[in-house]
């Protein structure tokens, strides 16, 4: 109502009106963003600052604030000599290999489905199935499929003449590969959908020009499709690698970090240190290290993007 009267006011009031409108906008702006701002501050920003402080202490959060003891950088130094941490970190780096493999498969699928097949939306639903399923359901399912003696996968391998198939999740030297197979399978659908959207944005005349120049379909794939998709690929690479550092549910339910720590990853180890060993200080230091690691990867990739992304 007030605003209505305001606009009806005489012309000489304009400067004051403007100022008043500016005040109104500022007030309205803050009111609109305040729910988001408050929840983000309370639930994310304050906690990450607290995490930073706690990471310099030796403390068990159950014991109460008066037992807190500041120990400087000790927690950070401890990580270098903590075998379990180093193992988890190495596993995380190994998991990065999932991303190029699944990107390659999903790109191939996207191109084939986009160019050459009927029933497009049917295929989309099929490959998207793991995306809508929870990691709990996926882990529960694959634990049975990978069952060492009587699981369907090994039964199949034995029936085609492989007498000593790997015991997958039960074998420390195969468990991480098993986790990676599941991650590739679960990630393909999302990446494929994004690639298909990217393919839609490539102008058709590029292919027509290539046709006129006599380039084969395969040649066109490498000289037109791949360069034109580089921003999409790059986006998927960043989100994929950052995402691979946050895989928690799958590890927790599938292997619980085992056997013998062979599938432990940083976030899983962090959970163990924080909520089972109850070392809040050390867990926070691991959390901050993880954050720094993710930031570093992102920065490196942004720099790399300028090098090889072709717009």
């Amino acid at each position: 109502m007030e605003a209505l009267q305001e606009t009806g006011a005489a012309a000489h009031k304009v400067p004051r009106k403007k100022r008043k409108r500016f005040m109104q906008d500022t007030l309205a702006g803050y009111l609109f963003i305040s729910p988001m701002l408050i929840t983000a501050t309370v639930l994310t920003i304050i906690p990450i600052l607290l995490s930073g402080i706690i990471s310099f202490t030796d403390w068990n959060f159950i014991a109460g604030l008066d037992t807190i003891k500041f120990i400087g950088f000790h927690n950070y130094l401890k990580m270098f000599s903590d075998d379990h941490f180093i193992r988890s970190l190495t596993n995380n780096f190994a998991l990065i290999f999932v991303i190029p493999v699944s990107l390659f498969i999903s790109l191939t699928l996207a191109v084939l489905i986009n160019k050459a097949t009927y029933f497009k939306s049917f295929f989309k639903v099929i490959y998207f199935m793991p995306f809508i399923s929870s990691f709990v359901a996926i882990a529960v399912l694959w634990r049975v499929l990978f069952h060492p003696s009587s699981g369907p996968i090994n039964e199949f391998l034995m029936s085609i003449g492989i007498h000593n198939p790997p015991t997958w999740l039960a074998d420390p030297s195969f468990s991480l590969i098993s986790v990676m197979i599941i991650m590739v399978w679960a990630g393909i659908g999302f990446e494929m959908i994004i690639f298909m959207a990217g393919l839609q944005n490539i102008p058709g005349d590029l292919y027509e020009a290539a046709d006129i120049d006599g380039a084969s379909k395969i040649r066109q794939f490498f000289t037109v499709t791949i360069p034109m998709l580089s921003p999409t690929t790059f986006f998927l690479l960043i989100t994929g690698i950052v995402g691979s550092f946050k895989v928690f549910d799958l590890i927790m339910i599938l292997t619980n970090g085992g056997p013998a720590g062979s599938t432990s990853v940083i976030v899983f180890y962090l959970y163990e240190v924080a909520f089972i060993q109850l070392k809040s200080g050390y867990a926070s230091a691991i959390g901050i290290t993880l954050l720094v690691l993710i930031l570093a990867i992102t920065v490196v990739q942004w720099i790399g993007q300028k090098r090889w992304v072709n717009y």
């Binding site: 702006g29 729910p35 995490s51 809508i132 994004i194 959970y271 924080a274």
Partner: protein, 276 residues
């Protein structure tokens, strides 16, 4: 032309073979959930059960030793509340960040966006402590609050708000409408499809969330489906038919929602990332 059509048919057939291999795990899960326990691991795999035990399996899951139906209700409640709460917060914030100009707006948006980089595990300890102090630990309210502040939802919706012309808002303001009226009457209807995307995605993510319920719930009667399923597999670890029936029950609602809203999910996921 006909050779082109033949090659399309061949590729479709090859793709179908690949597609069937890809969803085989799900087919196996469905088929196992219908079988008596003894037939689950027989080989060659009976894709269509010889003996059906579907009714017994699902009855045992739903009304057996564990309160699976209670977990289901809890999950529905948490998911619906989180989705509504998060839609309200993110659509308001997205409007504020794109259609109102005020000092500090862009800086605040960058700060909010930056929080997305923080891995949720890095803040679990302080969150856990705060929740205990605030009395939000072991409550559904706490979980809803955690899932409600969605950076990615805000980001996606802001992209869509930016495509609405400022002239529409300007002329509405000259006609005397305030921001609340413009937000509710004019812009919300214009971003309906984006809202549907964010809604479905948030629904799927909350429904499937395991980590937050694991950390922030303690009482059995508050458990969600995902927590219940792990508990279920601890109790019935050797009963694969029952575990698969549980997993099918957990996935089915999402599959239905996904098939209905397929267009929104796929387009939303794609547009948010390709544009962003």
């Amino acid at each position: 032309m006909s050779s082109l059509r033949i090659s399309r048919v061949i590729v479709t057939l090859l793709m179908s073979a690949a597609g069937i291999m890809f969803i085989m795990p799900f087919l196996w899960m469905l088929s196992a959930s219908f079988k008596p326990e003894l037939d689950v691991l027989t080989y060659p795999i009976q894709w269509i059960p010889k003996t059906w035990n579907a009714a017994e399996n699902y009855r045992e899951v739903w009304f057996g030793a564990l309160p699976f139906s209670l977990y289901y209700l809890n999950t529905i409640k948490i998911t619906l509340l989180t989705t509504v709460f998060s839609l309200i917060i993110s659509s308001m914030a997205a409007y504020g960040f794109s259609k109102i100009s005020f000092r500090g707006r862009d800086l605040l948006f960058i700060v909010i966006l930056a929080t997305f980089m923080i891995p949720s595990q890095a803040i679990l300890v302080p969150q856990f402590m705060m929740y205990r102090w605030l009395g939000l630990f072991d409550s559904h309210t706490g979980l809803v609050l955690l899932g409600g502040s969605s950076v990615i939802g805000t980001f996606l919706l802001r992209q869509f708000y930016m495509s609405i012309h400022n002239e529409i808002i300007e002329s509405a303001r000259i006609d005397g409408a305030n921001h609340l009226t413009i937000f509710v009457r004019i812009t919300l209807p214009l971003v309906k499809s984006a809202l549907a995307t964010v809604m479905i995605l948030r629904f799927i993510w909350t429904w499937n969330d395991y980590q937050n319920p694991l950390i922030f719930l303690r009482s059995d009667k508050l458990f969600t489906l995902q927590l219940g399923m792990t508990k279920f597999s601890d109790v019935n670890g050797e009963f694969y038919s029952l575990m698969m029936a549980g997993a099918v029950s957990a996935i089915l609602p999402l599959l239905i929602i996904f098939i209905i809203g397929q267009k929104h999910v796929i387009e939303g996921v794609a547009s948010g990332s390709v544009k962003g």
